[in-house]
């Protein structure tokens, strides 16, 4: 407890009025807590870190934390991040997005940021719903789910963000839930230490809107659901597609060395053009 209090004083903005905008039981706060806990252990100076977000409940995260913070437009956080990282490579650039933000309106930027392998650490908080606008289907809402924009059941299959970004070329891809806080911390740490484009999908609960269509009305029930439905990567290897249906595969899904865009650009300047 003492340690947590210390971190709050160190990393939350004392000049910002709290409470935050998130609903009681929301998973985003658990992620924010994990993020500052891990950052504290990395040795980065607060001046060297930029946290960038898009629009939605996750978009409000940067304002609470004492870094260089940027709350951009819906879906476009990675484009701003690319500009910042290329303009000032000494900065540690972290992007926080939601599922609608990253996989729907920002889907194009997500695949191209992964393809370029820009040195950006990105977190996609996936609560499988548009929370801020009142519970509409997102690209990660399960097939058949009833929401305010799928009153007769969701006709669309859900996106697998990790497979998408792995295929697009991300250097590091991992997935955790906010229930698995130990794993979450490890993945955040690995992603921050990875040189190229890294993605951690964070399965989180939206108690108000996600919980409604899952028939779960409390954060405890939703986090129990995360616990019971998760399968580690190692375990998943031994399971069939059918057995994995509806399961959350957690752990490190991709970890590889690829030349980063920043390295390539640096080489262009120093080796080819001799600047």
């Amino acid at each position: 407890m003492k340690e947590t209090e210390h971190l709050i004083h160190k990393y939350l903005r004392s000049s910002k009025k709290f409470p935050h905008i998130w609903c009681g039981g929301c998973g985003i706060g658990i992620f924010m807590n994990a993020l500052i806990r891990v950052i504290d252990g990395t040795g980065y100076s607060k001046d060297d870190i930029v946290i960038i977000s898009g629009i939605g409940c996750s978009g409000r995260l940067p304002v609470y934390v004492d870094f260089n913070t940027l709350h951009t437009t819906h879906g476009r956080a990675l484009t701003f991040a690319t500009g910042i990282k290329m303009a000032k490579p000494s900065l540690k650039v972290i992007v926080v997005m939601g599922d609608g933000d990253a996989a729907a309106i920002g889907g194009n930027h997500l695949i191209h940021a992964a393809r370029r392998n820009v040195e950006i650490t990105s977190f996609i908080i996936n609560n499988q719903v548009y929370g801020m606008t009142g519970g509409q289907i997102s690209p990660t809402t399960p097939y058949g789910a009833t929401t305010v924009t799928s009153p007769y059941g969701n006709l669309e299959p859900a996106f697998d963000i990790c497979r998408l970004t792995e295929a697009a070329g991300a250097s590091f891809v991992g997935r955790s839930t906010v229930y698995h806080t130990g794993l979450l911390d490890r993945l955040i740490s690995q992603a921050l230490n990875k040189k190229g484009f890294s993605v951690v999908e964070v399965i989180a609960q939206c108690v108000i809107f996600g919980g409604r269509w899952l028939g779960m009305d409390s954060a405890v029930r939703m986090m129990n659901w995360q616990k019971e439905n998760s399968v580690t990567v190692e375990k998943a290897k031994g399971l069939s597609e059918a057995e994995l249906e509806g399961k959350i595969v957690i752990g490190v899904l991709a970890d590889r060395e690829r030349p980063t865009y920043n390295e390539q650009y640096r080489k262009l300047l120093t080796e080819k053009l001799k600047i």
């Binding site: 940067p62 484009t79 500009g83 910042i84 303009a87 000032k88 194009n108 650009y265 053009l273």
Partner: protein, 378 residues
């Protein structure tokens, strides 16, 4: 050895101007007739030690440009009508978050895909009101290759001075035109830089009014940790819905530019002293207009021309004077009357405003303007 004239294209002159202004970040997406800018940047920007990146679309391009500017680099993107439409949300973001950046719009004929390789001035109003909500904007329009160079530098200067996006409206004729130009020596055109904070970080108020309406801007990583958002914000940059914080923000965004209207009256006038009819034109049309005025003078008509270099904020003072001194004005444009509407708004019944509109993708010619002048001459 005195500087020599060089043969340059409008788009190339924009690139040279941008680099001279200190632009060190370019992000863009290919589109005719702006692609030459991107190609020249791909070649020259890395050599200048800056960053060139081809993004996945125009939305991403302006996003990257704004990000780079927040990291302290003067940044540029260039596009044409369809891409300019895609950039509108981010133009609003840059206006709201007060991030300096320059957007070159090489105007082609629209609407929609329109005539990709042909001339128009159809984006004048989009430059003013294309993004949602009340916001300030600055737009400049060059009419020659030299002015492409000069006004690109000034676009950067204004964007740095006022912390606002600045749009350079280059019509396709000027963008693709080649002319022999004598570029000014380095230092001849003053280069402006954004004001940076000098107070200790804990004293820094990122969106306060230091008296000029323009708060000093820190680059990310320079030790002033602050919050940037497109939400309505208070002086610290934190989101607010309080009327007494939102209202002063929006009014400051306007007044930081409007208080300087006198400094933003950039125009050239020709034969206006005794003009009975004055042509008000901008971009390539101003060139055709000048030729028409010369021919009309030879024919004994007392006509003159005022060429607008600043499009937004509209030069009410300059145009008002023209309207006051002329019996009639003629506003020829390669659109359905986007600036003539502004002229009429400023006119308030002082004189007769005639229009000449062309929307077929071909440039307005001196003959067409001359014919109209003869027709309306009292």
């Amino acid at each position: 050895m005195p500087p020599e004239k060089i043969l340059l294209q409008g788009n190339e002159a924009c690139v040279k101007g941008a680099l001279m202004a200190g632009c060190r970040f370019y992000a863009g997406y290919p589109i005719t007739p702006a692609t030459d800018i991107m190609e020249a940047m791909a070649r020259d920007m890395p050599r200048a030690g800056g960053v060139f990146i081809q993004m996945e679309d125009e939305i991403a391009s302006l996003g990257a440009v704004i990000g780079a500017s927040l990291a302290g680099k003067k940044s540029l993107t260039a596009t044409s009508g369809p891409g300019f439409s895609l950039m509108q949300e981010h133009i609003g973001f840059a206006a709201m978050a007060e991030v300096p950046c320059v957007i070159i719009d090489a105007m082609r004929a629209g609407p929609s895909t329109g005539l990709p390789t042909q001339a128009a001035q159809g984006d004048v109003m989009q430059a003013r009101w294309g993004t949602h909500g009340d916001h300030p904007i600055i737009a400049l329009a060059p009419s020659s290759v030299y002015e492409c160079y000069e006004l690109t530098i000034q676009a950067f200067n204004l964007s740095e001075r006022y912390r606002t996006p600045v749009i350079l409206l280059v019509d396709e004729v000027v963008a693709h035109m080649r002319e022999g130009v004598l570029l000014p020596a380095e230092g001849e055109i003053a280069i402006e830089e954004r004001v940076r904070p000098t107070v200790p970080p804990e004293w820094y108020i990122p969106y306060g009014d230091p008296g000029t309406g323009v708060p000093p801007m820190s680059a990310f990583g320079d030790g002033y940790r602050y919050h940037v958002t497109g939400l309505s914000h208070d002086v610290r940059g934190y989101p607010t819905t309080r009327a007494d914080e939102v209202d002063p923000l929006i009014r400051r965004l306007f007044s930081k530019i409007s208080r300087d209207y006198d400094r933003l009256q950039w125009y050239d006038s020709f034969n206006t002293d005794d003009a009975v009819v004055t042509v008000i034109a901008y971009g390539s049309v101003a060139r055709a207009g000048l030729q028409a005025v010369r021919q009309a003078r030879q024919g004994g008509l007392k006509v003159g021309l005022v060429k607008l270099k600043v499009i937004w904020p509209f030069m009410r003072r300059t145009v008002s004077q023209v309207l006051n001194n002329s019996k009639k004005v003629l506003v020829p444009e390669m659109n359905m009357g986007q600036i003539s509407r502004e002229v009429k708004r400023v006119n308030e019944g002082q004189c007769e405003v005639a229009t000449l509109n062309k929307v077929d993708g071909t440039p307005l010619t001196p003959d067409e303007i001359l014919k109209k002048l003869e027709e309306i001459y009292p």
